[in-house]
Amino acid sequence: MKNNLKVERAIKNITQAQLAQLINVSRQTINAMELNKYVPSTVLALKISKIFEKSVNEIFFLDVED
């Protein structure tokens, strides 16, 4: 699974640390997601979509390997 968290963050102009605080996870988690090293749970994906006011599909998308 891929995502454009980094782009969305840039649009909203918030740092990894700020996003982490908003959705109550560690900064490492945001970083790991942006590096495609971690696939978040549905709950976390929904929380992120709420912050960016976009649907989950616009932030996260399937990869060829999925």
């Binding site: 990894q16 109550n24 996870v25 560690s26 988690t29 970083n31 749970s41």
Partner: protein
């Protein structure tokens, strides 16, 4: 995040203290062939040795025993469990994933070493392997988990 089966973060430091004291005591004991320190105490073995001239601990009767090794074992196990399974300060679903993967890794490594020991180590040396094997799964997990958490924290520093 809701986590099952984990202790609060405040138990972690307490766990480290007990674990380290237990390990130091264990190392001192193993250097001295489990003879010193000799903390004699009354014990009540549920399962003991067969009665004979030299046996000191028979079943279902009070007898004398050096409890230093028992204390060291309990401290390493209890301290180790607290260190291993207390929440991190920022426990979340990512650290939960790392936790699970580290536990699988530790189980594999622990049993690979035990399998090799079963095949290649015999008699008293094998008994010694069994002694250490009581604790190694916890120790391997603690090392692996904290190493991975340390690595993810270092990765962030590169990002900045």
């Amino acid at each position: 995040m809701k986590t099952r089966y984990l202790f609060p973060n405040s138990y972690k430091l307490f766990g480290w203290i007990i674990l380290i004291i237990g390990m130091v005591l264990g190392i001192i004991l193993s250097i001295n062939d489990f003879e010193y320190p000799n903390w004699s105490a009354n014990v009540f073995p549920l399962i003991g040795e067969k009665e004979g001239v030299l046996t000191s601990n028979v079943s279902m009767a009070w007898s004398d025993n050096n409890i230093a090794d028992e204390l060291a074992s309990l401290m390493i196990i209890i301290g180790g469990i607290l260190v291993a399974f207390s929440k991190l300060k920022d426990e979340d679903e990512y650290s939960a994933t790392i936790r699970t993967e580290s536990l699988i890794w530790a189980t594999y490594v622990n049993y690979i070493i035990l399998i090799l020991s079963i095949v290649f180590v015999f008699d008293m040396p094998f008994f010694n392997v069994l002694i250490y094997n009581m604790f190694t799964i916890l120790l391997f997990f603690i090392l692996r988990f904290h190493y991975l958490i340390f690595k993810t924290k270092k990765m962030i520093r590169y990002e900045e």
